[in-house]
C-alpha cells in the first residue's frame, strides 16, 4: 500500500488510530461502563429537561410507563427493538473487523426495497416458498449495498465512513424515484408514496394471539432477529472466518502478516453487515407494513451506531441495547402525548450516550479517579 492510499483509507486501517473501534474491545468485561454511560446520559437528559422548564421525573416516568406500562406496550417496545437488533449487528460486525459502518440505514432500505419488490412480484406464491425468497432478497439487497462499500475500500482505498454516508443519501433519492415515479410505484389511498402490497405468503405472522394481548403487532420477525444474533455469535467466535475477521479488526497489519487478506475480508464483512441490515428492512416490510412506504424507517440505521457501541459489539450487549432504544422509541411517543414533553428528548439522550462513549477517556478518567480515590482507603484498611 503506497502512502497515498494509506492516507485515503484514513483512520482505522493502516494508521494505529486510537479509536472506539479498537478501544471498545478493551472495555472491562462487565457491563459497568455501558451502564455508566447510560446513567450519565440520563442524568444529562434530566438536567436538560429541568432547564427547559419541565419536570424530569414526570418525563422519565411517562417514558417508562409508555414503554412498559401495559402488556401491549411491552410488545410494541419489542416491535421497535427488532430492527434495532439487526442494524446493531450490521454495525457491530463491521466494528469487529475495524470498519465503521455508518451505512446500516441505507442497507436496511435496500433490503426493504428488494424484499418489497419480491414480495409483490411473486405475491401469488405459497408462503412456504415465498417467505424464504423474500428473506433472501432482503439479505441480498443489503449485502449488495454493503458490499459496494467493502469493494471500494478494498480496491480503491476509499474510507468507508465517506461511502456509507453518501450511499445512505443516494438510496433515499432512489427510493423517492422508485416509489413516486418508478417501477415500484403503486396508487395508495393514504397518499403516501408506497409500493404494491406484498403477498399474504410474504407476511410475517403476528405471534401473540388477540386473547393474550389485544391488537399486538409483535410478529415472527423476533424469531428471525434471535436467529441472526446467534448467527452473529457463531460466525465471529465459532468459525475460522470469524476468527480472521476479528484478527483483522484487532490488528490489520498483524493479520496480513499471518496470511489473512484484509482486502477480501473487507468486502465480505461489509456484505455480511449489509445482509444483517437488509434482513432488518425485510422484517419491517414483512412484519409491520406489508409494503414499502417512502421514508418508512425513521432512523433505525442511525440508532444502530449507538446500539452497537453501547452493546460493546457483543451479541447479548446488542440485544440489551436494542431493547433500551426500542423502549425509548415506543415510550417516547407516549411521553409526548401524556407528559407534553417532545419525544425528541430520546434523541437527546441517545446523543449523550454516544458522546459519552466517544469521549470514553472521560468515563475512564472518572472511573480511574474513583479507583484512585479508593486506593488509599484500601491501603489504610
Amino acid at each position: 500500500m503506497n502512502q497515498e492510499q494509506a492516507a485515503t483509507t484514513g483512520p482505522g486501517t493502516a494508521s494505529p488510530a486510537p479509536s472506539v473501534r479498537q478501544l471498545t474491545f478493551q472495555w472491562a468485561a462487565g457491563p459497568a461502563i455501558p451502564v455508566l454511560s447510560v446513567v450519565i446520559a440520563l442524568l444529562l437528559g434530566a438536567i436538560f429537561v429541568q432547564l427547559s422548564g419541565k419536570d424530569a421525573i414526570a418525563a422519565y416516568s411517562a417514558l417508562v410507563q409508555g414503554a412498559f406500562g401495559t402488556p401491549y406496550d411491552i410488545t410494541e417496545t419489542l416491535v421497535s427493538a427488532i430492527p434495532l437488533v439487526l442494524t446493531g449487528l450490521a454495525v457491530a460486525v463491521a466494528f469487529r473487523t475495524g470498519l465503521f459502518n455508518i451505512g446500516a440505514q441505507g442497507q436496511l432500505l435496500v433490503g426493504a426495497l428488494a424484499a418489497g419488490w419480491a414480495g409483490a412480484q411473486f405475491a401469488t406464491w405459497p408462503g412456504i416458498i415465498l417467505m424464504p425468497v423474500v428473506i433472501l432478497f432482503g439479505i441480498a439487497g443489503g449485502a449488495f449495498y454493503g458490499g459496494i462499500v467493502g469493494f471500494l475500500k478494498a480496491v480503491r482505498g476509499v474510507n468507508e465512513v465517506i461511502t456509507t454516508i453518501m450511499l445512505n443519501y443516494t438510496i433515499v433519492f432512489v427510493m423517492h424515484w422508485l416509489l413516486q415515479a418508478g417501477p415500484m410505484t403503486a396508487q395508495n389511498a393514504l397518499g403516501t408514496p408506497a409500493s404494491t402490497p406484498i403477498g399474504a405468503g410474504a407476511r410475517l405472522p403476528v405471534i401473540i394471539p388477540n386473547e393474550l394481548v389485544l391488537f399486538s403487532r409483535l410478529h415472527a420477525g423476533i424469531i428471525l432477529a434471535a436467529v441472526a444474533v446467534v448467527l452473529f455469535w457463531f460466525l465471529l467466535w465459532r468459525t475460522p472466518l470469524g476468527y480472521q475477521l476479528r484478527a483483522v479488526g484487532l490488528g490489520p497489519r498483524a493479520a496480513a502478516q499471518a496470511g489473512i487478506d484484509p482486502a477480501r475480508h473487507m468486502v465480505l464483512v461489509m456484505a455480511i453487515a449489509g445482509g444483517f441490515a437488509g434482513l432488518g428492512g425485510m422484517i419491517e416490510v414483512s412484519g409491520v407494513f406489508g409494503r414499502v412506504y417512502d421514508g418508512f424507517s425513521s432512523s433505525y440505521g442511525f440508532d444502530a451506531i449507538a446500539v452497537a457501541l453501547l452493546g460493546k459489539n457483543s451479541p447479548l450487549g446488542i440485544v440489551f441495547a436494542a431493547l433500551l432504544f426500542g423502549a425509548f422509541v415506543h415510550g417516547g411517543a407516549y411521553m409526548q402525548s401524556h407528559a407534553g414533553i417532545s419525544s425528541n428528548l430520546v434523541a437527546i439522550i441517545q446523543a449523550f450516550v454516544l458522546f459519552v462513549i466517544a469521549a470514553e477517556t472521560l468515563v475512564r478518567a472518572l472511573t480511574r479517579r474513583r479507583r484512585g480515590a479508593r486506593k488509599p482507603v484500601e491501603a489504610i484498611a
Binding site: 497515498e4 485515503t8 484514513g10 455508518i102 424515484w177 430520546v346 446523543a351 454516544l354
Partner: protein, 315 residues
C-alpha cells in the same frame, strides 16, 4: 424539455441560491479537515444555526442579532466536538454522529416546546437581498444575480478570503502543516492544539452561517430538520472540491445546479420518457464516491485528518 429549463437565468439564480448553504458548510469542512480534525456534524452546526438564529431574531426583532446567535450556536456545538476530539482524543466520527443527533433532537425538542404546532412567527425579520440597480434590465445577468441574498455574496467573499488565507498566508500554511504532519509542525513551534481548536470553531461558524441563511434568508421560518442533509452534501462538496475553498465552491455549484434542475425539470419529458427528477438528487453523492475512488480526479484528504494528536511529552 426546453433550453430555458436547463440554462435559463432563473435556473442560474436558483443554482446560486441552492449552492450557497452547501458551499458554506463545505468551507467549514475544508478549514477543519485541513487542520486535521474531521467534523461530520457540519449538518448539526447548520441546524442549530437555523433554529437559534430564528429564535434570537424572533425575540430581538433584529435579524443581525439572530445571525450572531446562529453563529454562536454553531460555534458552541463545534466547541463540544473540539473539546472531545482534541482534549479527550475521542473518536471524531462517533462524536460527530452524536452531535448531529444532539442538534436534531435539541432543535426539534425546543421547537415543539416554544412554537408548538403553530410554527415560527410569520413576522420574522429576514436577511436582506442585495438589489443591484445597475444590472436592472440587463438581460440574463439582471435576473440571475441582480437580486441575490446577502449571504450568497458573503459566501462568495468567504471563498476568496479562505482560499487566500489557506494558501497565501503564514497562518494558513501553519494550519495546513498541522493537518498534514502535526509532529513536524509542533517541532517548529506551532501550537497544534490551538490551531485545531480555532479551525473546528471556525468550521462551526461557517456551517451555522449556511444554516442562518436557510432559515432567515430563504425559508423565513424554522421547520424540524430543515437542513435536510445539506451539511452532508457540504462534506461531499469538500471532498469533491479536494479540500480547497475554490474547489468546494465549484462542487457546490454543480450540486446546486443538480438541485435547481430537479425543480425546473419537474414534469418535463424527453420524447415520451418522463425525466426521473428524483434521481438527480443522487448526483452529489455518486459524484463524491467516484471522486474519492479516483474515477473523477483524485481526492486525497490531509494526511493527519481525523487522527487525534498527543504532544511528545504526553505520550
Amino acid at each position: 424539455m426546453t433550453l430555458e429549463m436547463l440554462l435559463g437565468a432563473s435556473v442560474f439564480a436558483a443554482t446560486l441560491r441552492l449552492a450557497a448553504p452547501i458551499a458554506l458548510a463545505a468551507l467549514g469542512g475544508t478549514v477543519t479537515e485541513r487542520s486535521g480534525v474531521t467534523y461530520i456534524a457540519l449538518e448539526g452546526s447548520m441546524l442549530v444555526g437555523c433554529f437559534f438564529g430564528v429564535v434570537a431574531a424572533d425575540r430581538s426583532h433584529n435579524v443581525w442579532i439572530g445571525l450572531a446567535v446562529a453563529l454562536l450556536a454553531g460555534v458552541l456545538l463545534a466547541g463540544l466536538h473540539a473539546y472531545a476530539s482534541i482534549a479527550l482524543r475521542a473518536d471524531q466520527i462517533v462524536s460527530g454522529m452524536a452531535l448531529n443527533i444532539l442538534a436534531l433532537g435539541l432543535t426539534t425538542y425546543l421547537d415543539y416546546q416554544m412554537y408548538g404546532t403553530t410554527g415560527t412567527p410569520a413576522d420574522l425579520p429576514t436577511l436582506p437581498d442585495v438589489q443591484l440597480g445597475l444590472l436592472k434590465g440587463v438581460p440574463y445577468l439582471g435576473d440571475a444575480i441582480g437580486s441575490q441574498n446577502l449571504m450568497v455574496w458573503t459566501m462568495g467573499g468567504l471563498v476568496v478570503l479562505l482560499q487566500l488565507f489557506l494558501f497565501r498566508t503564514v497562518l494558513g500554511l501553519r494550519l495546513r502543516a498541522v493537518g498534514e504532519h502535526p509532529r513536524a509542525a509542533e517541532t517548529v513551534g506551532i501550537d497544534v492544539r490551538r490551531i485545531r481548536y480555532a479551525a473546528v470553531l471556525a468550521s462551526g461558524a461557517l456551517a451555522a452561517l449556511g444554516g442562518a441563511y436557510l432559515s432567515l434568508g430563504v425559508a423565513h421560518s424554522f421547520t424540524d430538520g430543515m437542513t435536510g442533509g445539506r451539511g452532508f452534501i457540504g462534506l461531499a462538496a469538500m471532498i469533491f472540491g479536494r479540500w480547497t475553498p475554490v474547489g468546494a465552491l465549484a462542487a457546490s455549484l454543480i450540486f446546486g445546479y443538480g438541485n435547481a434542475l430537479s425543480t425546473s425539470l419537474q414534469g418535463a419529458s424527453i420524447g415520451d420518457v418522463k425525466v426521473p427528477v428524483q434521481l438527480l438528487g443522487t448526483l452529489p453523492y455518486i459524484l463524491t464516491i467516484l471522486a474519492v475512488a479516483g474515477f473523477v480526479g483524485r481526492s486525497r484528504p490531509p494526511a493527519a485528518d481525523g487522527l487525534p494528536y498527543e504532544t511528545e511529552g504526553h505520550a
